[in-house]
């Protein structure tokens, strides 16, 4: 797109500072009595965030409350920021489960590859943005935290429905 330049002729002969000032005062007064307020009163009101918003993670669970993760190791492999720490374990039935599953939210770049690659649809990014903590170590989410969070999860981009309709 071409950049449009416009050379504005400054008024010389007809300019009156006093009258121009009164015009300006009228304009600001119009905004004063009829404000176009767009500010959202944040803690009370919030914007709706998009269905594909990529925020802090959640681990989905099965009906008996266990993490769906089978510790296949795909997400730490695909993670470009190397923020997932996974130590697999095997239970009595011989099923693999994550003995350690930590996500360092400081390292995470919220690309969503872990959710995309997960064969069990266990790890998800969340539609959530209020992440404040008092200490740095609290930003490393462990499995307990990942499974106990309840915020809605990110929807994946669907190639069949690229605009999300």
């Amino acid at each position: 797109m071409a950049i449009k330049t416009r050379v504005v002729d400054r008024p010389t002969a007809s300019a009156s500072y006093v009258r121009a000032t009164f015009q300006g005062l009228a304009l600001t007064f119009k905004h004063l009595v009829d404000p176009h307020k767009v500010t959202v009163q944040y803690p009370e009101e919030k914007w709706d965030i998009g269905p594909r918003w990529r925020g802090t993670h959640r681990m989905l669970t099965t009906e008996d409350g266990k993490a769906k993760c089978v510790a296949c190791g795909l997400c730490p492999t695909v993670c470009p920021a190397n923020c997932i720490k996974l130590v697999p374990g095997v239970d009595e039935q011989g099923n693999r489960y994550p003995a350690v599953f930590d996500i360092d939210e400081f390292r995470c770049i919220f690309c969503g590859y872990c959710q995309e690659v997960c064969p069990e649809e266990a790890i998800h990014l969340g539609r959530h943005y209020e992440n404040a903590e008092y200490e740095r170590k609290d930003f490393v989410y462990d499995l307990k935290r990942l499974t106990s969070q309840t915020h809605p999860v990110c929807e994946m981009w669907d190639p069949a429905d690229p605009k999300g309709e």
Partner: protein, 428 residues
Amino acid sequence: MNHMTALLLQVADPQMPPTQGMFVLFGLIKAGVAFGVYMLCVAYTTLLERWLAAWIQDRIGPNRAGPKGLLQPIADGIKNFMKEEALPGGANKVLFILAPAIAFVPAMLTWAVIPFASPLPVPGVGLIDMAVADLPVGFLFILAISSLGVYGITIAGWSSNNKYALLGGLRASAQMISYEIAMGMSTVCVLLLVGNVNLSAVIAQQQGQGWNVLLLTLAFFIFAISSLAETNRVPFDLPESESELVAGYHAEYSSMRYSMFPLAEYANIITASGLMVTLFFGGWDIPFTQWDNTPPWTVLKTALTLGAYFVKVFFFVFSFIWIRWTVPRFRYDQLMALGWKVLLPMVLVYITAVASLLLALDAGGVAHTSYAFRGAFLGMNVGFVVLVFWVLDRGRIVSPAYSRIERARIAHLREGAGRSDFAARKGA
């Protein structure tokens, strides 16, 4: 014995001046009440400014502290008291600490002589003037005191041992000198009409003749502009111009010492508004009625005139803030040119015209309260307003930078703008 009866009667009659002891007592009470109300108004003017700034800019403004944000000034005060007070190295400690007080006190002193309501009859005491001290030389007192405020600002700038602060302080003093003259001269027109420097007499004159803003619009206009300059408000806030001088004269101040400067500014705004109302808008006079300015005085009259005065002052405080959030700051040469080359000659011509007309009318034996007298001034006034705002003010009152470039050069520059990189790329 006769003397004693007279004294007793005087004590009993609320329409007569009070005795000396009561005068002193009520003087102290008035000073205390006026001080409290004034400080409260100053504090809430800060909130008003923040609200109006927000609303003009389509924002919401402070609404968290207390209901609708009404406790914001108190929260600000507590915050400022809790903060650390920093003393810059190499600063002159005594003057650095003294400067905020020097800036603040004159604004408050000025308020002492402004009458704010009709006299209040107190049963058993007498008639109390509704001014802290209705001095016979009230107006001269104001001229003497109001120019002292700039000492605080200049001393603050100098004692900070900071080059930006010093520049801000110097600008404040230069600005004060330039505009004090035009301000004083514009009030000379009022004093010519009144023939007295007592502010109660100024109000009485306007009750008889109509408000001075109608008779002396140009004087009001010059007074208003000079007041903006004297209170260091936009478009004349060069002493603290953030974009070039960090924060100007108070760059080194912190905590409550810093907040004394904005408070002094708002105190000055209220005082300047009070002065404008007293000199040009009839003081506590309620317009379109003579009921409020004739004895016998009653408490109701006092209350209503106080209300009228408050409304008028509020309007001007509002205007100060409104102007601040509308116009940009002047360049320094514009500021000086406006003061010395426009306002000063204009006001000198105006004084001559007003004095000549007054002399002619007095020689013709026209009574000061007659319609012929008012009509003559109103007519001259309309002539001057048209002359100044429609004929003279065409790029001359405040001249832009390009007015100093020759016309041929401007045309050349415009051609250059047409051949800019953008235009070339668009063509290719």
